[in-house]
Amino acid sequence: MNANYHRRRIVNVLAQGGMVACTVAVLVPLVLIFSYLLLKGFGSLNLAFFTHLPKPVGEPGGGMANAIVGTIILIALASVVGLPIGVATGVYLAEYGHGRLGWIVRFSADVLNGVPSIVIGIYAYTLLVLPMKGFSAYAGGCALAVIMLPIVARTTEEMLKLVPNSLREGALALGVPAWRTTLLVVIRTARAGIITGIMLAVARIAGETAPLLFTAFGSQFWHQGLSQPIASLPVQIYTYAISPFDDWHRQAWAGALVLLTLIFLTSLSVRLLTRGRVHTAR
């Protein structure tokens, strides 16, 4: 009896130790990735990286300024297309989405969220690149918009559902029509939360590479208008990483550091925003 109890306690301690070991093992790659990014990325960062165009193969120096600008343009394009649809869908799901259509939309959004981004790339290629007879920023932006849609829709829905019903009822009791209640009271109350969802989506699409490979394609020059191929940080990192040149490898690390910093700043501000919202809601 006593020996048995002893054995059980040892197993218990071992199992708990195993859980701690698992957690450490999960965090090790994270630490490794960060340290390599800082180590290799910082050394290659300089002013030219942010202000200059890529140099031709063999010439050292140059930067990724066009890719940084390109990424910002692509995100803006995606937001212009994706945000209105996403937010409106979220409003529909939260305020009217209790019937069958709501279920269908919610399910579609979740399925769309799971569609591999490379498939969305093919979709945008077929619908936009083929008819326009060329790679373009438009096609890249639309591909990213499709990726944004379900994220924005679902977070908007979640955030609107957090708004207490008493607020809606109060507005209605004052004679405000339901649609104006939604616009002026519900959405305004949940504003911080909706922005959170938007920034989550932006953080997600900022690093997307696969759908841009054959839509925005990439370029070595400043952007030449939205109907032309456009450079972006993730694609540039990819091209440089698989190239055989040391100098390009260095730039890829620097680009990765910049991209990750951008994404982390976005998610960090999301955290701060959410904290503020939770705080005021209570």
């Binding site: 009217y96 019937g99 981004s117 498939v119 379900p150 019903n165 490979l213 990765a256």
Partner: protein, 341 residues
């Protein structure tokens, strides 16, 4: 059910969250009522229109891929799925090497990721004090925000050399009698791809498993503890079996992620359309072949074949994701936070 009901309702009125039956309709002046309803009607339908647009996007993705790959479907029929020769020069297209590559790399990734994820989820849920839980779960979530291409970059310059000099030799000396660990080891391989996939899948499986474990009723735990179980016995006998369906759902959700993952895999797997038993050999997945060859496909049938690979990939991921969602919902309810998953 949802958090809306937790909110205090005016005068204890339980508003029917099922439909919009707000008192607006009982306004006495009929003229005003009509105008109000028009505004509501327009707003509601406008929102519904946008929501339908999202459904249409999903539907048209399937449709577009089907139409675009129709030439290849007609030419190869079902043989496309079982043909093992992918030779653009001779216009021969069989997708089996890629289907094989996708399944094997994803399966291997789960083999590494699932134990780690469940262990981490248990740690976060059961062992970690609050001051540890918050930062650790934040760090695990960070893993999910790193873009695929950065994983790939790290894979090329750190993981591949490491796999070539340490992991490969270690495996071939200890498990070399198995056919999986024989042959030359260049580092660019199915094994390396599965390792990087495992790292990428961990945050998703962990967060959903965590939610599922948290959803297990306290009574389950207390009953086990009252019977004298140690903490581990309580978890093994009362918590894990209760949440089994949900955990399986979490694993399948991770599978869906791994199957669709493109860039990191493309950068480390070597991209060779071969089926080989050795995990040290380079391979290719459905996503990686599209990423690699689509922009360079020179004739129609080639493009169509690649789109058909995309279609197969789409069907598999949609199926896997739907299955996972249903499984998780049965345990933790449809409100389970699977954001970004």
């Amino acid at each position: 059910m949802d958090r809306r009901e937790e909110a205090p309702l005016a005068n204890g009125v339980r508003s029917e969250s099922a439909e919009l039956k707000w008192p607006v309709t009982s306004v006495s002046a009929p003229r005003i009522q009509k105008r109000l309803n028009l505004g509501d009607w327009m707003f509601r339908n406008l929102a519904a229109l946008f929501a339908l647009l999202l459904v249409c996007v999903l539907g048209s993705i399937v449709l577009v891929l089907l139409l675009e790959s129709w030439g290849s479907i007609r030419t190869f029929g079902w043989g496309f799925l079982i043909g093992s020769k992918w030779d653009p020069v001779f216009k021969e297209f069989g997708a089996l090497p890629f289907i094989y590559g996708t399944l094997v790399s994803s399966f291997l990734a789960l083999l590494q990721a699932v134990p780690l994820s469940i262990g981490t989820a248990l740690f976060l849920s059961e062992l970690a004090p609050n001051w540890v839980r918050a930062p650790v779960s934040f760090l695990v979530e960070l893993l999910a925000t790193i873009p695929s291409v950065i994983y790939g970059l790290w894979g090329i310059f750190v993981l591949i050399p490491w796999a070539r000099t340490y992991v490969g030799p270690a495996l071939s000396t200890t498990l070399g009698f198995l056919p999986f660990f024989q042959g030359p080891n260049y580092g660019v391989s199915m094994l390396t791809a599965s390792m990087i996939l495992a790292v990428m899948v961990v945050p998703y499986v962990t967060s959903v498993t965590f939610e599922v474990i948290q959803a297990v009723p306290t009574a389950q735990r207390e009953a086990a503890l009252a019977l004298g179980a140690t903490k581990w016995e309580m978890l093994r006998m009362a918590v894990l079996p209760y949440g089994r369906t949900g955990i399986i759902g979490a694993v399948i959700l991770g599978l869906g992620r791994a199957i669709g993952e493109t860039m990191a895999v493309t950068m480390v797997i070597g991209n060779r359309a071969d089926i080989s038993t050795s995990l040290f050999a380079p391979g290719a997945t459905m996503a990686s072949v599209i990423a690699n060859e689509f922009a360079e496909a020179t004739y129609d049938l080639y493009v169509q074949a690649l789109v058909e690979v995309g279609l197969v990939l789409l069907i598999i991921t949609v199926f896997v994701n739907a299955l996972a969602r249903l499984l998780v919902w049965t345990v933790a309810g449809p409100q389970t936070n699977m954001r970004g998953v």
